[in-house]
Amino acid sequence: MAGTGKVHMRGDDALVAVEDLVMEFPAGRQAVVHAVSGISFDILEGETLGLVGESGCGKSTTGRAMMQLPPPTAGSVRFDGVEMTELSKEDLRRTRTRMQMIFQDPISSLNPRRKVKDIVAEGLSIWHNDAGDTAVQKVNEVLDAVGLDPEVVSDRRPHQFSGGQCQRICIARALVLDPKVIICDEPVSALDVSVQAQILNLLEEMKERYGLTLVFIAHDLAVVKNVSDRVVVMYLGKVCEVAGPDTLYAHPAHPYTDVLLASIPEPDPDHPVSDRQITGELPSPINPPSGCRFRTRCEKVQDLCSEKEPVLREIAPDHFVACHFPNEVPVSVNGS
């Protein structure tokens, strides 16, 4: 699986374009962790892009590299016509107000000693000196939008809220500066299914109401499918497959996508538990396998897979896969 291909890029219309993104971290003794190894994708305005893969596949690193947290080792991140990697410190700070993040653990991402109204208002007090009525109004507006009653919650602190409510506060904080893009890094993985549904619905509403563009990072394909317009499947720092969510579910082309789909627990006792299981462990990103990085765990592995890295190619309209031996996909099917 390569991430080297760029056939799936959609040209100049994209709001965000990430190209050949590489993220490497030193691991001591000249060893290097290849967290993300040359991936490319773009996001159109108003779209939700899902990034899905296991822990360690580089999906969070990708999300953070887009924010330049820290800046990528190589590659380009273009946001609204601006090259993020080349911005000065001050310009970057300004640009980041329009790109916000929501994290996995809502409780630890809120300062326990501060009141909700101060947490949410912080961005405003930094960027707009109107700390008066308009700021209060704005804070109340976003709190109300995320389903919290401003009068009740403003003076409380994070420990007085449940995980789901804390995630709402995080969403309010991300919204307060009217961002264009929100990067959601596993926003529902720490939540119960019932609360997860509330937060997923809320994100969809906020997207509609504020005209947001979302990057949605998660390991559960069922969750990603529900919210995304386009899904990028990642494995060990590379892109495996890019497609619309419904296409991806109906006709997964990459063997790794198959595995992800088979791992979703089906709430149906008549549905036999799939005996398809991913074998082995994720290889070390310090010394990734040659050729296709998934080959060590792939059922369909051939000699070619270790010799040559597969390049992303279009196998059906708007359906791209990086595999030498992908599943058959009906070409006539037009996804999403």
Binding site: E54, S55, G56, G147, S162, G163, G164, D192, V193, S194, V195, Q196, A197, Q198, L200, N201, L202, E204, E205, H219, D220, L221, A222, V223, K225, N226, V227, S228, D229, G244, P245, D246, Y249, V259, L260, L261, A262, S263, I264, P265, E266, P267, D268, P269, D270, H271, P272, V273, Q277, I278, G280, E281, L282, S336
Partner: protein, 356 residues
């Protein structure tokens, strides 16, 4: 139906906690039985009392816990609550063992994996160091850890999340317990690893003939794994049935709501999820009526004043606690009445209910 006595009998179990805010009724009258080698799934949201329930069964509660008289837990014919401290020490591990949600916090970060596995073998079975190491190696192979000899000498932080959970399973299995309690064993893990761990638990259970209590908040996790399911809400069982019956004849609105909030991969993307609005009740308060009524789309006057008890539905081995069970004509009438006024008897706004 087993003719012999079930392995575990829980009768009207109540566990309260004395807190500064008052008495918190975490588990409030739960009864169920579990046969040898059987799996029961216990499903509910955070705060529904599932974890306290199994901790009460194991008798590992904190010191401010109160278990009122009349609560009975019989394991293999013995009352677990009357065990002396020294008896209890050999009871945990050899009879009942538990695995927890977060493998990082349930393992000791400064001890090697091998030491942690052999500790209980040496303590409970009086094995020599070498015997215990051999057994540990055997266990590591059994739970599917590659390069087990090398891994025994490593520390937990050197293992991935899935491997750590395999180690905690190995520790739990070390002394061949009759009952394994898995408290959200896969919540902290990726879906792919979750599947591996659930498959592993199922195969080990078959191999060793253990009974298992599988706790989760996700109905999807227990669907293919448990023979029976108990759905818990606010310290009570609201529906119990064998798995097939439960999914085919879901009676309790809470079970239905949990089921509907799962994002289904078969559905079109951007399908709106039926989230459950609101939160579970504050268990310190005196609760009147059905505890789910404030969040229930079907709530009527009766639900606010009277508390429903578990009763048989007519399906074999299926019990539920709702006056207006899903699928019944009463339920349809209740929903129609609520939709007409736009608000349930408990004050849930049905028009806004869709929002959060």
């Amino acid at each position: 139906m087993a003719t012999e006595r079930p392995l575990l009998e829980v009768e009207n179990l109540r566990t309260y906690f004395d807190t500064p805010r008052g008495i918190l009724k975490a588990v409030d009258g739960v009864s169920f039985t579990l046969d040898k080698g059987e799996t029961i799934g216990i499903v509910g949201e955070s705060g529904s009392g599932k974890s306290v329930l199994v901790r009460s069964i194991m008798n590992i509660l904190t010191s401010n816990a109160i278990v009122p008289d009349g609560s009975d837990v019989h394991f293999d014919g013995k009352d677990t609550r009357n065990l002396s401290r020294s008896e209890a020490k050999h009871f945990w591990g050899t009879q009942m063992a538990m695995i927890f949600q977060d493998p990082m916090t349930s393992l000791n970060p400064v001890k090697k994996v091998g030491v942690q596995i052999t500790e209980s073998i040496r303590y409970h079975l009086g094995a020599s160091k070498q015997e215990a190491m051999d057994r540990a190696l055997e266990l590591m192979v059994q739970v599917g850890i590659p390069e087990p000899r090398k891994r025994l000498k490593e520390y937990p932080h050197q293992l991935s999340g899935g491997m750590r959970q395999r180690v905690t399973i190995a520790i739990a299995l070390a002394c061949n317990p009759k009952l394994l309690i898995a408290d959200e064993p896969t919540t902290a893990l990726d879906v792919t690893v979750q599947k591996q761990i659930l498959d592993l638990l199922a195969s080990l259970q078959e191999e060793l003939g253990m009974a298992m209590i599988l706790i989760t908040h996700d109905l999807g996790v227990v669907a293919g794994r448990a023979r029976r399911i108990g759905v818990m809400y606010a310290g009570k069982m609201v529906e119990t049935a064998d798995t097939t019956t439960l999914f085919h004849h879901m009676n309790h609105p809470y079970t239905e709501a949990l089921f509907k909030s799962i994002p289904r991969v078969e559905h079109q993307s951007h399908t709106r999820l039926d989230a459950i609005s609101g939160r579970p009740p504050d268990m310190v308060l005196e609760l009147v009526g059905c505890r789910f009524a404030p969040r229930c789309r079907y709530a009527q006057e009766q639900c606010i004043t009277d508390e429903p008890e578990l009763f048989d539905t007519g399906q074999p081995d299926h019990r539920q606690a709702c006056f207006y069970p899903v699928g019944s004509p009463e339920n349809a009438q209740a929903l129609a009445a609520n939709q007409e006024t736009g608000i349930t008897a408990a004050g849930l706004d049905l028009t806004a209910a869709a929002v959060s």
